[in-house]
Every structure is written in structure tokens, then in C-alpha cells.
Symmetry: C2
Subunit: 250 residues, 2 copies
DNA sequence: GAACTGTATACTGTAGGCAGTCGACGACAG
DNA sequence: CTGTCGTCGACTGCCTACAGTATACAGTTC
């Protein structure tokens, strides 16, 4: 009796299942990659990471495989895992594909013209703008991301949204600095986009999104070619690095 | 002296590394899924697959994770792995995204206009046509696949090609029957496409590819809606199925 | 000094084991 | 008969161990 009442009441949320270790390790390693602690090309020894994170090799191995699936890490059989080292060309291609996917998403979102979704877009836009004016760059960048993700969601094509999410995640560290620079211009474009979506003008929505994302792409390229720092030079294939023999376990 | 000369000669190919077990297991399970031996929604117990394939659970576990990354398998922590059960809607979305990616690939291929690539396309087209005339459906279907893959390669955008490959892999079991039905019409469209690519006519190449892949999509939908077999009804979430107690180990 | 060989061991891929969770099924009460 | 509870064991997540491979380094030869 008591149990059936609880099940029906909807008042008691289910106890959330604790995150598996592999998920936690995934997030931990990803954070290390994104914040630069683990630099591109670096060899990732399972046992080192396991020791660092206080787990066994197994969840590390699984996390590395997940990271590989999302393009953050390259797995080479027999050699192990290496932080993915993107080239300028690859970044360019990723940004081009992102543009393609988000342009189509915007077009479909305008076709679908979902009133609730448009309201949510406007809310995100307002949040981004006020964060910008408060000089809160971090919130502004996050709102930017969320807005783009919502557009792909409003496309109504889940496969498209998933691919866009996958690509978006990988370009994160390319387009964030650009978004910072563009500031207000970026948000004005978002507003125009939302207008077009609301109006159901698929051609216009697509055109705005194409221009918007294409601008990010060319700005990134400008940035990279004006600051040649050799970080993207073709390097010799990284190998797994055995810890030097004389290194004492510290 | 001897060693440095051997490294430079390029005459001796390197011994290819044997595939890891996880890769072999991945392919084996994928084949079982594609040929229907492992039906959508089915629970995949690591230990059963390990016994079936004669390996330990570990490479099975890793293969399942790879399969999850490509959308063939759903992993639920605590419950295990289940063959992904696509809905008609999802198939539709996949085919739509495939159309988007391949249309853009064709456009870029026409922009790039690579003579060697065009020659390879024509060769594949000839192979497909002659296989069709010899009633060799299998070779015809394979050539069809290869031709599409080559177009994405000729786009020059590796990220795009990879995503297209990922999507193409997943739609394989949707569009193959359609390709069978369309036969000659399909190959005529391929010829027109190649002409457009060779001529560097990006607009025309894109249009032909869009129509071609869109045709596959609508043919698939026609087929599914004309044969409602309930296979795509929303089902209760599959759970991990403990082997019944009375089942004797056979 | 450069090139090569041999050795030691760090590291990867895989196998096997353990503890906790989940689901089938039997027992029992109403 | 239906519903509930408890038991059992299949199964998952993670740990540990082993075998083979890759790399660092020392020693030797030219």
C-alpha cells in the first residue's frame, strides 16, 4: 500500500545511480586535456592515470576509449593513448562541418517553428547579452553554446543534433576565443536568427546561421595564420614514452 | 649503414600489426547485428558473447563500447548492453543526415575536381553497371557503397568523410534493399553525378546527389509505411535478462 | 662518434576473480 | 488466484595478474 502510493505520487524521485568510475575518469581526463595539463600529442599511460586518479587501470582504459570516440584521444594498438593533436586544417574542417550541420539545423528549426523553443532561445539570448554587459565572459560563452545546442535540438532531427553535439564538443577550444572577441556582434546575429526562426523563414535562418558560423571559421583561421607559433607543425608520430629508468618513484 | 639504407628504400613493406581482439570482436558482433542474428532490443551479456567468440570478457566489453560509440548498441550502467532498436523516425533522420553530408561532399568534390578521383569514380560505376547486368546484386551493392564513400573522400574534408562514413554505416541496413530495387536508375544517376563532378559544376553535383539520396529516403519510407509489421512499435525498455533458472547449459 | 646488439623493465592487451546489483522464481499469506 | 517477500545466481563494474611488445640504456664494434 505504502509502496504503491509512493510509486504513484511522483513525489519521491528515484535514487540516482552513482556515476560509474569510467564516467568520472572520462570527465577528469577531459578536464585535464581542456585545461592544457595534458598537452596535445602527449602519451597517456593507463597506469599513470590510474595512479593519479586512485582507481585501477580498467576504468581508465574504458574512459580513454570513450575519449577516443569523441576525438579527444587517439588510441594506437600496442602504443597506447595520446592526446589528440589537432592541425589547423582539421580545425578548419571541423568548423566547416559544424557550419553545415548548424545551418541545416537552423533551417529545420525555422520549418518546425516551435513557439516554446523560440521562447527558450530568446531567454538564452537575453542571458548572454546581460552577461556580456556585466563582463561575465564565462556565462556569455556558456549561453552561446547552449543557444547553438538548442537550435540543433529544435531541428527535430535527433541524429543531426547528436552529430552537431559531437562536432561542437570538439571545436569548443577553437571557437571560444573567437566568440570572446566578437562579443556583441555575435549576439546581434543570434537575435536575427531567432527572428527568422520565429517567422518560419527557413532560407533566411539558414543564411544567417551559415554566415554566423562561417565567420567563426574565418576568424579562427585569421587568428591562426597571424600567429604562427609552430604548435601545428607536422610532428613526428608520437610514441609511447617509457618512464626513464633513472626516475625514482616520487 | 645497413639500417639507414633499409629505412630509406621503401621497398620492404612493414609487417602489419595483427588486429586486436577487441577489433575482431567488434566486427563479429557488428556482423551478427547486421545480419539479424542479434535482433534490435536484445540484451547482450558480455559473458555469453565471450563464450560464443572464444575470448575473455575484456575485449567483448571494449568492443561493446565501440559499438555503443557508433550507435549500434546502447549501454546502460548496471543493466548492460542492448542492441540498438531504431525506429522508423530514426531511420528517416539518419537518411536525411546522410543526404545532407553526401550532398555537401558531392559539392566539394566538384569544387576540387580531382582527375584521378573522377577516373576512380568512373571505374566503380562501370563495375556496378556490369555487375547489375550480370545479375550480381552483391557486387553491385558493394560498388554502390564504394562509390558513395569515394565521393565523400573526394570532398577533401576528412572530418566530413568520417561523419559520412559513420552515418553510412548505420543506414546500411535501410538503404540496401532500396538500392536493389532501383537498379539501373541508380547507376544512371551516378553517371550524371560523375559528369557534374568532372565538369566542376558544384551546384549540379549537389542537386543530383540530393535528389539521389532523397529518393532513397522516400523509397525507404514508402516501404516501411506500406508494410506495417509492428516491428517499430514503441516497446517497454528492455532489461537485462537473467538466463532462466531451468535453462540447462547446452 | 655512429651504429648495432643485448638486457631490463615499463607498458599494453587480455584473462580470470571478486563484490555488489538485478531479475527470475519459489514460498507463503490473504 | 493474486500480491508480496526472500532467495539464488546471472550479470556488471572493477580489480589483479600474466604474457608479449615497445622503449631506454649500457656495452661493444667499427
Amino acid at each position: 500500500m505504502v509502496r504503491s502510493e509512493l510509486a504513484n505520487s511522483g513525489a519521491a524521485p528515484k535514487i540516482p545511480r552513482p556515476a560509474t568510475l569510467r564516467e568520472s575518469v572520462f570527465e577528469a581526463i577531459l578536464e585535464l586535456i581542456i585545461n592544457g595539463s595534458l598537452s596535445p600529442g602527449r602519451h597517456l599511460a593507463e597506469s599513470d592515470l590510474a595512479e593519479l586518479l586512485g582507481v585501477s587501470r580498467q576504468p581508465v582504459r574504458e574512459a580513454l576509449q570513450m575519449l577516443n570516440g569523441e576525438g579527444w584521444v587517439d588510441l594506437r594498438p600496442g602504443h597506447g593513448a595520446f592526446v589528440h593533436a589537432p592541425t589547423v586544417q582539421e580545425a578548419d574542417q571541423l568548423l566547416a562541418v559544424r557550419s553545415l550541420l548548424e545551418t541545416e539545423s537552423a533551417r529545420l528549426a525555422a520549418l518546425n517553428r516551435e513557439a516554446d523553443g523560440v521562447a527558450r532561445l530568446r531567454e538564452l539570448c537575453a542571458r548572454g547579452l546581460s552577461a556580456l554587459e556585466a563582463d561575465d565572459i564565462e556565462t556569455s560563452v556558456a549561453a552561446n553554446s547552449d543557444l547553438h545546442a538548442l537550435v540543433t535540438e529544435l531541428s527535430g532531427n535527433k541524429v543531426l543534433a547528436e552529430l552537431a553535439s559531437q562536432v561542437s564538443r570538439r571545436v569548443r577550444w577553437y571557437h571560444t576565443p573567437v566568440a570572446r572577441q566578437r562579443g556583441r556582434a555575435s549576439w546581434e546575429e543570434h537575435e536575427l536568427l531567432i527572428d527568422a526562426i520565429e517567422a518560419g523563414d527557413e532560407t533566411r535562418a539558414a543564411q544567417i546561421m551559415r554566415d554566423h558560423t562561417e565567420h567563426t571559421r574565418s576568424s579562427y583561421l585569421d587568428q591562426r595564420t597571424s600567429q604562427p607559433d609552430g604548435a601545428d607543425e607536422p610532428e613526428a608520430p608520437a610514441t609511447r614514452r617509457r618512464r626513464p629508468r633513472s626516475l625514482s618513484p616520487s
